[in-house]
Amino acid sequence: MQKPRYSVFSIARNAMNYHKDWERAWRSPNPKAEYDAVIVGAGGHGLATAYYLAKNHKMTNIAVVEKGWLGGGNTGRNTTIIRSNYLQDPSIAIYELARSLYEDLSQELNYNIMFSPRGVLMLCQTQHELRAFQRTAHANRLAGLDCRMVSPAEVKEIVPIINDDPNCRYPILGAYYQPRGGTGRHDAVAWGYARGADDMGVDIIQNCEVIGIQRDGGKVVGLETTRGVIKTKKVGVVTAGHVTTVMDMAGVRMPIESQCLQALVSEPIKPVIDCVVMANTVHGYMSQSDKGELVIGGGTDPYNNYSQRGSFPALEHTINALIETFPIISRLRMLRQWGGIVDMTGDRSPIIGKTPVDGLFVNCGWGTGGFKAIPGSGWVFADTIANDRPHPIAEAFSMDRFTEGRFIDESVAAAVAH
């Protein structure tokens, strides 16, 4: 059922007919009685998992069930940053796999996800932070990543609007730069994977909430949903902030707390910044979308929270920090703020792999950094589900690391100074 390809020519052709003949990007099927595998959660990670199950593992009799509308969770709420310059080897492995897949994803999916490798700058604003990023730089270089430290002068060249006053509260001592990091169009990632998976026969079933996980002894045998029972021997749970709710149905207590991550955009303005800047010491990061909005990430509310509402305290500090970092934004205005429910693990790194229940797989804990991982996450999770064993890259992210003390702690890069 190959869909016609998107191209400038297909647009021209359809224009002649006032665009009345465009085919659907994906079907809206009713659930079948049984599938070889069912992915719970049609966010970026879930849809990518389905896509690679079909593409790499030829499992096409599968479904993705989604409580609401596809891509409506954190995939459509994040600040679209893509980078892989992490410190720990397992993190580097999965985030770089994801980043490299992003490079060709538009062509792979025949859907423009607008991957824009405009560069990611991580500012160093204390001697300690400078040393920490120098360490990361050495580790990344020896792992084969294309990253480097840049001088304050270079920072100013890359981001002319940055505050380079050497006497400001936290002067810029340098920055860690990943030139092939950047941003993508978050909705398009979900839509592109959905269209691609649908094209290979995957059923994407929206408005279908899982209300129970059927087990036979220690094995999964099916799902109870608001649209009836679906038999299946393999279930992949990819529900981010709501993973606890779903895993509780299988009696698996997760090492997860759900919090609300704050984000906002400014009104659209003409281009002022052509890369992503992260200022960890003062807690702010910013990029500019193609529409011209400044895209800004705030902190998380300090308590468990499923409300998806914008709150204020988390934003206030971010804005103070960004005005000090980019003084010209003071007279720009906040257009829209919102929250996303993020799933935070004990070491702030994700969980990918098998669970105590046979046939039940989980992919969660991406916390505040999931978007950048979508293609890699889907790739290794699909492999894990298809072969019923962790993909080599997924091994380190297994749940039992919390039993063994085998943490993957990225906060290390910003450990407390003296």
Partner: protein
Amino acid sequence: MTGKPYRLAEGGSRIDRAKRVTFSFDGRDIQGFAGDTVASAVLASGQKVFGRSYKYHRPRGVMGLGSEEMNALVGVGADAKREPNLRANQVEIYQGMVSESQNRWPSLTFDIGGINNKLSRFFPGGFYYKTFMWPKAFWKHVYEPVIRKAAGLGKAATGRDPDNYEHMHIHADVLVAGGGLAGILAAEAAAKAGAKVVLMDENPVLGGIADLTAGMINGACVADWLAPKIAELKAMPNVHVLVRTTVVGHYHHNFLMAAERVADHDPSLLAAGAPRHRLWKIRASHVIMATGALERPIAFANNDRPNVMLASAVRALVGRYGVSPGTNGVVFTNNDDAYLTAFALKKAGVNVQVVDSRARPDGELVARAQEEGIAVSLSSVISAVEGTLAVKAVKIAAYRKGQGRVITEKRVECDFIASSGGWNPVLHIWAHNAGKIKFDDGLQSFRPDTHNAAMTAVGAANGTMSVEATIAEAQAAGEAAAKSVLKKAKAVKAEKLEVKEPRRAALESLWFAPATGAYNEGNKHFIDFQNDVTAADLELAQREGYESVEHTKRYTTYGMATDQGKTSNINGLGVLSEATGKTIPQIGTTTFRPPYTPYSFGAIAGSLTRELFLPVRRTAVYQWHIDKGATWEPVGQWRRAYTYSGAGETKHQSITREILAVRNKVGLLDASTLGKIEIKGPDAAEFLDRMYTNTFSTLKVGKCRYGLMANELGFLTDDGVTVRLAEDHFLMHTTSGGADRIAAWLEEWLQTEWTHYKVFVTPVTEQWSQFGLAGPKARDVLAKLAPDFDVSNEAFPHMSFKVGKLGGFPVRVFRISFSGEQSYEIATPAGYGLSLWKAFLEAGAEFGIEPYGTEALHVLRAEKGYIVIGDETDGTTTAEDVGMGGMVSKKKADFIGKRSMEQAELKRAGRKQLVGLLTEDPNEVLPDGAYAVAEVKDKPPMKMIGQVTSTYMSPTLGRSIAMALIENGRARMGETISFPLEGGKVVRAKITDTVFYDKDGGRINA
């Protein structure tokens, strides 16, 4: 062009014709009157085009009455003071104001981007997802830059904002959002019942659209009847009224944000010290939402042309500013309200006719139009608009509800259109925090339903459109709110009112007016004007499967412009409803997100910018450090002296000088930032044994002991020296960065886990200035300062403590060392800190004393192999890893972190262990954080076996030294390992133990 005929001979309730005001728009001087807005003044000057649209760059003019304006966005101010994307109809003009149109190049009337419009057929909604994919590199380097340049509306300021901002907190029994008829009456009722009331309105004057409303109260028109009430309300002692203040967001527990534009209308206030904006943080016991309603446009072909306006906007131009958009207008409506605009125009001598989509509207206003001789075409719609930079004519077509095509149409010349598709209640703050809304068939729009928070909606915001009902509703709500909040509310006696208002005919929804030509083809029926989203785009999204309204929104960007869908939301749902056959409630609506209207980042930051951005903590010697030319190292919020570079001295030189001073003579360090915590009680010793990995219950009174702290994961988090002041009394030192954290940590365990312990914990960090006096001459300096203070090695050995007087100074003296030299730390109350510091320098002068900074400190301790938490440890490092396993008590049954230290991974063989490194070339200093590899390859990846944690050129040893965490390091003594650096260079270093200097510790105990 002269003002005529657009500025009417008379009228204009908001303007003062005696006061002329000159400002500039796109470099052209424009004369208006005090009270004018940029929109009214520029329109009065005859200019209709205010900007270009987002995607197609179509010329656009003023459309709205207030904050719903989506087309006429202007930039105000220049350079560092430029503020983009302001609504021209809300910007009050002042003498000398500089304003500009946006998103056009080179000019408004001739805009290159306009080419997009010619090609618009090739840019349907979401087109960019389908193309620009080849060749791959072109997205970032060709397509995207073009798109980015074309998008983005206004330009940002070019420098640091010179103005001030601030926050203000306020608590109200009743917050009333909106100062129209409903808001005023609700506030009055609540206030008379005794409530503390705050009323906020976004406009410069109260009254809302009372002046644009039909009806009489006690014989007066609504606005006139309301005027004295407003004055009375403002005078009440328990009422605070704010204008130019928009309630922008509603959050949990009735917390609201309001943005006050204090000085935008009058820059002289800034000079007088006023903030430009003030952000109000409001906690209200009850919220009354009286935010009114916004008129919605009608989707007809080319409904975006300059001088196509909302009927209410035209009415306001005439009534408030004495301005008419033209001389010959057409009112296009599906409801009675727009007839008021026709009457206002006729009264002002403007030629006008009405086009009404309804077949038989039987309202009194329709009848009156006929009486007044205003031509009314019923069962008719506007099927086409002629003119590009301005309306030249319209086509009027016969219409039956549900009809999709035009059968007959006639051409009518006109120069403006006033359209009304009905009114939408302003629900934003109701919906921001999960208030429920419901669809109202009469309004063909949503209205408030239930809410968890204590909030009531009144008047038009509640879908109540009649004056009489609004009055009753508002007064009842105000009184009820007061009653619900106050223990004892006063009774409010209702006044007798006689209200007359015209009987109205029902509105008939009109989501799409059929157009000349086949359905939809070649015509643009705009739904979201600013983002150039047409009815066709919404239908396309549906066809392609983007069925959820959220998908439609994101795919077409409908509702995502700076007006956040104020006018497009319902119209879009109407179009989707007709396209899908679902009802509007079935389709549902997108989430309302704060803020209601955009407000400045400056206001969000308030006063916490520049010198107030993140506090700087100062020791008592702070200014002295500055005067001595210190550069800073930030530690937590403290600033510590990093090094004191003298004239013509590099940092490296001064650091070396400072180190040698300590090694050979004596140095003075400001260590005041170290955390100091007093811990007292019968269980204090046992408590410390729980907190530290090593034991303190065995410590003798008057003695010091170095302690290690781990977290429950078993990783090191802090260290420091603790002294036993008395059997039940300890003084703990923590790292500077850890002081507050550790104090809270101790409190937490006492309060939540070992609640039976009798222990008090009192942080005293700031009470003391504390100075390190280190070096072979340290004792001499002390002795000279205070001959009667016995500092002999016998009386005062290493790791002991004395309290007493040093000359006139009350002091606590610790003989401890972080440098490996004979060393003392002397603490005195902070008020005496500076003079004791100076006293040391004076007394030490003859011994060659020199102040030294944190970098010298770090080199000195590295030479001795002392660790720094945060350098040698990184949050995943155990005591065993850094070779301090001996400080982890085997005897104690339990202490924080003990159990986790037994987890498999923490005991694993081959973990990274702290070792010393000596590079083969003694002049080669390893870079910070450099990684060693198992085997050097010609290109990555290479297997890494550990990293440098501290690395320095040691002036004492005359060679480089380093410490590193290396896999299985302690078993590799003497082994040489390789560090591949950038550019292929490889540094080789021998693994040694970590103590490079004075291994037997002779100097410490000297």
